[in-house]
């Protein structure tokens, strides 16, 4: 992944989540909670996970999925996975 793409990751990821949830990207601040603020359920959480994995060609572990509760945490998990992938 290029440095530019990496720097734009947060914006791209927010857009992806906005597309799935039908929310305005401007609403999706790092501290926004998927469950409490966006009313996302376990079904939608899996749909978002599938979309993230496809877009970034990463794999998120089963047990991580329910622990990703905010937009900021989602960005962090994706960044970490991409960094790990680049190193391997």
């Amino acid at each position: 992944m290029s440095k530019e793409a990496f720097d734009n990751l947060e914006k791209d990821l927010v857009q992806l989540i906005a597309d799935i949830t039908g929310r305005d990207p401007a609403e999706l601040k790092p501290e926004v909670n998927f469950w409490k603020d966006l009313g996302i359920d376990s079904i939608k959480a899996i749909e978002i996970t599938v979309a993230i994995e496809r877009k970034y060609k990463i794999s998120i572990r089963d047990e991580q999925i329910p622990k990703i509760t905010t937009i900021g945490e989602a960005v962090k998990v994706v960044k970490q996975s991409l960094e790990k992938k680049d190193k391997s």
Binding site: D41, S42, I43, I46, E47, T49, V50, D62, E63, I65
Partner: protein, 455 residues
Amino acid sequence: MGNRRVVITGIGPISSIGIGKDNLWQGILQEKPNIKLEKCVLDGELWDQFYVHKIDNFDISKFGIDKDKLEDIKAWKEGEEIVDLNYLIASIKLALDDSKLDYNKENNELGLVLGHENLGLMPFGFKVSDLAYEMLIGKQKSQFSKKDFFDKFYRKFLKSGYDVQTFADLFHVARVFNVHNYSLFINNACASGLYALETASQMIESNQVKAVSVAASDHPDIYKYLWFKELGIYSSDGMIKPFCKDSNGLVFGDGGVAIVLEDLEFAQKRKAQIYAEYLGGGFDLEGWKITVPQIGSHSYQDAIQKAFKQAEINKDEVDFLCPHGVGSQPIDYYESKAITDIFGVYPMRYENLSHGEQPHEIENLSHGASPKRPLISTFKPYVGHNLGASALLETAILLLSLKNNLVPATLNYKNPDSKFNISLVKEKTKVKLKTAMKICCAFAGFNAAAIFKKI
């Protein structure tokens, strides 16, 4: 299908609502599950508690099984009774008795396929934890309670514990029933039973054997409960509510089951009763995650379509469909999507399908709608989630439903969720049934479907 036709001639269930096919069927008709609160207490301290569909009185010595062989197994297990192994043996005995196959001679025609998620793992885990506590902590109890130790120790231990091998249990069970033909042990999680049926059918079609006893069992304990609780899919109120707005997870079911498959000609020659023909199964391994289905994938639909191809029937011929129905929102959603993709969205009027006298009677299955869709009902609210044996136990109930021309109601189906786009049978319904389908979406993405038809 191959040249040989495969039929079911014996059913032997061990469940929380009845042991043996007649008692199980009575339990289904009575619609009264036997759910108990299981408490795990260590040194007087409550570790955790969970609801389970419980078998109250089970005694392996009451099944007329060779006592010497049972003693040999017990001795091998260092005096310990392995409950799920005993369920396997007892269910096979019931199924073989039901089929009236003669297995007593040494060179019988019987093969064996067992499905299970590791027999004896639960007591093994408890024993290891107990021993480790006594050795490492016992003298310093004031610093570390047994409950805290177990809680931490099991998490470190659990994954490697699943590497327990099962060939020795296959040996023990085969020995009890004089099985010297082709035999194997399989583990495809909750779908094990359907994989086992297909494997057994192939054994018969390839003329390895004339008959196969397919058996599976599970005796879930606190270790499995803690894992499912962590995953957030264990019901806190002890009720499985499939495809409902208020579904909050599964409840374990204690038990096991065996089903005898035979070559049709062989069965006819010995004038065996025939429940139904096994027309074929379809299987697809999604391969995304172990514990989460990939919503949006087509794997489950593919498994169902493959079953139609193998069975050489089309979807309109299915009268009765029994899904996995675990009562977990994402799994129910994944499953309902596959059902509606194949059979179409169920109109809301189907919700009122079975209102009326008990049991409700309907003339035919079209219900004035076109195309015809199968009636749907699930059995986990009756017998709990029997994990590795669940698909096979529910297949046994499905076969009894076919035989009795009665679709049991889905218990606890009080608040159907319209997002699932399907309607389940709310009250037991008398209707002429010919073809039934069992489907299962298991952990690790083992998606499976099997089709049965009365002949």
